[in-house]
């Protein structure tokens, strides 16, 4: 059993496990909120299989409840998930030459948390790659672990979700979750400007049909952050000790 592949796989699993402390509560919260916002339990669960991206899944649930059209929800999710292109770009040189079935499987499993573990392995062994190179098994172990925990925690949330009372105000947990995701992204001045303009624009444009206001507010926020950086010279890389993540 002690083949290089199996060893890499297990190492990937082991390094992914501690991250589940954050993933499991988030998965349960998603499951509860998706059901509370009116998705069928089956759709809520399969969203974790089909979409497999937590914040986008929450947005879908929230916008469906608010009557957003599929096209606008798609546009919004496309902006929110664009960071995955960067993960793909970062891992592409390492896995781009694997057989097609591997490329497909690893692309499907490429989430924030799996990326962190997979790229960590490629970086730490960059000087002396293992022979034979089985590091894609490390990636697979990390990705499958996350998939399993994300779907299991979704199932828990979906199961409980239908039994919880609307009087508890659980719908308020959706903006709170996004607030928790927002704070670590406010590292420097231009990022804060992007957030400020995104927030103001989304309130001003809230009455736009089909939830288009959200999509437009995201674009406005991004443009404001970039403009601020260009004109105010926000490029001071070392000037932000408080901006580093805990």
């Amino acid at each position: 059993m002690a083949s290089p592949r199996w060893n890499e796989f297990l190492l990937g699993v082991r390094r992914e496990l501690p991250m589940q402390l954050g993933v499991v509560p988030f998965g349960m919260i998603y499951g509860v909120l998706a059901v509370q916002s009116g998705m069928s339990p089956l759709a809520a669960q399969l969203s974790s299989v089909i979409v497999f991206a937590g914040s986008a899944q929450l947005v879908i649930a929230q916008m469906l409840a608010a009557g957003g059209s599929p096209l606008v929800i798609l546009l919004t999710a496309i902006i929110l998930n664009v960071r995955h292109v960067l993960y793909s770009a970062s891992l592409g040189p390492h896995v781009g030459r694997l057989p097609r079935r591997w490329r497909m499987a690893l692309a499907y499993l490429l989430t924030d948390e799996a990326y962190a573990v997979a790229i960590g392995r490629y970086v730490e062994t960059a000087q002396a790659p293992p022979q034979p190179d089985a590091r894609h098994w490390h990636f697979l172990g990390a990705g499958l672990t996350l998939w399993l925990f994300w779907n299991a925690s979704t199932l828990l949330g979906v199961t409980f979700g239908a039994q919880l009372s609307p009087a508890w105000g659980l719908d308020f947990a959706i903006p709170l979750t996004f607030l928790a995701l927002l704070v670590p992204s406010l590292g420097d001045g231009p990022s804060r400007v992007a957030a400020l303009f995104g927030a103001i624009a989304s309130v001003v444009l809230v009455a736009m049909p089909l939830k288009l206001g959200l999509f437009c507010a995201m674009l406005i926020g991004i443009a404001a952050g970039a403009t601020w950086e260009v004109f105010m010279g926000g490029a001071k890389p070392s000037a932000n000790p408080e901006g580093t993540r805990a």
């Binding site: 798609l74 496309i78 292109v85 704070v183 959200l214 926020g221 991004i222």
Partner: protein, 111 residues
């Protein structure tokens, strides 16, 4: 087959396409769009702009109009959650503090 399923499959396909993009066409994309510093700068602003746009209206807009009551339970609870998010950077603690604050304020204000 209704709008929900259509949306799920469309977003799922788009997300998969993102994740596969540079694994399949890595060198071309990286030399092109993603190698451009301007594109990278724009991408950096996606999380703050997107998450702020998701949070703000849910807290300060009620039934289509701006909130005028500064003692609104959701507004006060959001402030508590914001402080907790700044201190802990934890989704779980932010949620717990915000929900607790919501119910505490409702109870105190007789809501």
């Amino acid at each position: 087959m209704n709008g929900t399923w259509l949306t799920l499959f469309a977003v799922g396909a788009a997300t998969f396409a993102y994740r596969l993009s540079c694994i399949e066409f890595g060198s071309n994309l990286e030399a092109g769009v993603l190698g451009n510093p301007r594109a990278r700068r724009l991408l950096r602003f996606v999380p703050p702009a997107a998450f702020a746009a998701l949070v703000a209206p849910a807290i300060v807009v009620r039934d289509g109009t701006m909130l005028t009551n500064p003692l609104d339970p959701r507004l006060l609870a959001a402030l508590v959650a914001l402080v907790c998010a700044l201190l802990t950077r934890s989704v779980l603690f932010t949620l717990a503090s915000g929900m607790l604050a919501l119910h505490a304020v409702r109870f105190l204000l007789g809501g």
